[in-house]
Amino acid sequence: MRIENWLMGYQLFFWLGVTLALYWGALHLQRKLGGSPLANPVLVASAPIIAFLALSDTPFASYDLGGQVLLFFLGPATVALAIPFFRNIQRVRHVIGPLLVALSAGSLTAILSGVGIAFLLGADKATVLSMSAKSITTPIAMGVSEEIGALPVLTAGFVIAAGIIGAALGGPLLTLLGVRDERARGLGLGVAAHGIGTARAFQVSPLMGTFSGVAMTLNGILTALLLPLVWRLFF
């Protein structure tokens, strides 16, 4: 018996419940592993659902009845980014000049190198386009991806992967490069590894987390304002 027939009108509640339970489990697992960015709750919670849907041959549309309810909250959550940003921007005001210079340089580097490498290695056009928003925070990235005609879900996947890579390898890399200033380390994590990098930065110190959080939101806003505009000018 197919699960979507068996559940009848309760598919929405079933998938919502399954997702909440797996997310709760994923949070506990990550806590047990000392907050490791490798135990990303999105990956840990979605992998068993993917496996189940594939093995039971259940259509994604059934799961998506519950999924759409959760995706609805992304909009208000994006708006809510204004609140920590409002508080943190006042703490970094004294270095706003150097901050904007570094953020622009890093953001441009991340976009151009990501798109360039994927393009040169012969990736599909949809892949290249979706790569352009990979360094900005996921809710904004999905919106930008939609605006430029890329695949929002694929972009979300790239964003999460970039965040895990940056959060896991960013610290050792910056130590290797001799960057010891916590403000600079935080800013780097925020620009390249958005929310996942910011969570990592807050594990080190509030100062590093503040810079990372500001970098994440500012990078998201500036990219969202400029990328679709640049895109329209050239294509």
Binding site: T19, L20, Y23, A26, N40, P41, V42, A45, S46, I49, I50, L53, F60, L70, L71, G75, P76, A77, T78, V79, A80, L81, I83, P84, R87, V95, L99, A102, L103, G106, T109, S113, I117, A118, L121, A123, D124, T127, M131, K134, P139, V144, L151, V153, A156, F158, I160, L169, L173, V179, R183, A184, L187, G188, L189, V191, A192, A215, A224, P228
Partner: protein, 126 residues
């Protein structure tokens, strides 16, 4: 929990406020036609309001903290949705991995190095 059921009201209003910013932002973005996601416009509207008001109401603070703390929950459906692109990801696996690793670390290094350099230059200039 428990106690006065009306104590929930300020948070419900704060959430409605976030949704209102979202709707106004989406309308503004559509009207301006500059291809900016509506949610980002909503974020800017709220930010403008906060700068005018100079303070964040406690209920808005609570609701936002909750939404942002559990942001990952709202991405799980996107993670599951990735299964539809398994073929594309398998085809482009090496370009994707190369772009993600190199570009993320390059962006991170450039940001941190430029910021250290700019901070040092400014401190020496004083």
């Amino acid at each position: 929990m428990g106690g006065d059921p009306l104590s929930f009201l300020p948070r419900a209003l704060a959430f409605a406020g976030l949704c209102l910013c979202l709707v106004a932002g989406s309308q503004l973005a559509a009207w301006a036609g500059i291809g900016v996601p509506g949610a980002v416009m909503g974020l800017l509207l709220l930010l403008g309001a906060l700068f005018l008001a100079h303070h964040v109401p406690q209920s808005l603070e609570d609701v936002s903290a909750f939404l942002l703390r559990h942001l990952n929950l709202f991405f799980v459906p996107a993670g599951v949705g990735l299964m539809a692109y398994a073929g594309l990801v398998a085809r482009d696996l090496w370009p994707i991995l190369a772009a993600l690793f190199l570009s993320t670390l390059l962006g991170l290094a450039v940001t941190a190095l430029v910021f250290s350099w700019a901070l040092k230059r400014r401190e020496e200039g004083k």
